[in-house]
Symmetry: C2
Subunit: 218 residues, 2 copies
């Protein structure tokens, strides 16, 4: 009854919106053969935890956040994806606000946010993972409310629109966007205004439910 076993890892693509760009969190690797290259934070799946727990643990370790949107992306298992040994990776993606303090550890040379449009060279098959994660995100914000996890609790409609414009990489019409969003019964005004210098204060809204819902956003 001794069966084949395989090393299983989790890699987590952590997205945020920072400086008007969609960014992912990358760590810079210290060890050969990927020394100097960047990669998504990852780790082995322990025998006592599910892959989702592994992803949650990685997220917590790197960013300190929890209770954010986290979804299994896909399992990557090309034979040569890790040069050292065979490791299959269950990739996840997470959406978080940019108001976090990144935690560096001695395991890595550096940790930072990279705009998805200007990624450095990535280790393993992480280029592939990034492509699929971005594609999934672009698709999914169009028929769900998951952007709640990228914004503060309270946000203005313009901020919400910007998130969509940045991820979809296109400009949207302000009136049509507001009409659409408000008709979906997803968000509600909190009754406060956001002051932002020399301009008319903006109404603040919040999501009615901070969990996955399917809606026809666009």
């Amino acid at each position: 009854m001794s069966q084949q076993k395989i090393a299983v890892a989790v890699d987590t693509v952590i997205f945020t919106i920072k400086d008007d760009a969609l960014c992912v969190l990358l760590i810079q690797m210290k060890k050969k053969p990927y020394e100097g290259l960047w990669a998504f934070p990852g780790g082995r799946v322990e025998n006592t935890e599910t892959t989702e727990q592994t992803a949650t643990r990685i997220l917590q370790t790197q960013t300190g956040v929890s209770h954010v949107y986290l979804e299994q992306l896909k399992t990557f298992d090309a034979m040569e994806r890790d040069q050292l040994e065979r490791v299959i990776s269950v990739a996840f993606f997470a959406l978080i606000g940019d108001d976090v303090e990144l935690k560096t550890t001695e395991k890595y040379t550096d940790v930072k946010w990279w705009p998805v449009k200007k990624l450095p060279e990535l280790a393993y098959d992480h280029k592939q993972i990034s492509k699929e994660a971005i594609a999934r995100l672009k698709g999914k914000i169009q028929y769900t409310n998951i952007v709640y996890s990228l914004l503060e609790q309270e946000f203005t409609l313009t901020e919400l629109q910007h998130v969509y414009e940045i991820i979809l990489d296109q400009t949207l019409d302000k009136r049509n966007f507001r009409k659409r969003v408000l008709s979906l019964d997803l968000i509600e005004p909190v009754g406060k205004k956001k002051l932002s210098g020399a301009s008319r204060p903006a109404e603040l809204y919040k999501f009615k439910h901070r969990k996955l819902e399917y809606v026809e956003m666009m």
Copy 2:
């Protein structure tokens, strides 16, 4: 450098359309603790193969078919999904025609097609897998051409419409359906007709490309 390793399996949800119903292939289990229950065909991932190769092998073993639509569904890894030991399962789904001869092996009591609306009790977490596979299939036929893999090479527009009606579980308007499909540049007439007893013969069509394409079906 001795790292934790985990048993990894592949389970394959094989769909077909049979007797006007969407069906999946199930095997009946011989061994305890799941004796008598039904399950999707599965197997361990060998060290020399990718999970997709495992899925292809399972498909070949059970049905003899190859070159059909096959896609990774999701990885299932609840701690207690297998009562005997921890096994994580990379689930795939495949779409095949119903003109296959099912292969029984001594490993199983029985192998047969089951309509998804009348599934028996399933082993492991396969109830969960079936739900997600059906949901994915329903979604995916609406924006891709993957039904090519459920039909014969040559088919009539009515047959194509029936596939959609059965999977989506709703009736569709014949004229609107034909208008839509023909406008998509997906299929072309082969110049032959299908005789079917006492009625007007139907034009036969085929898919221009038998590979995944994204289109706005509905």
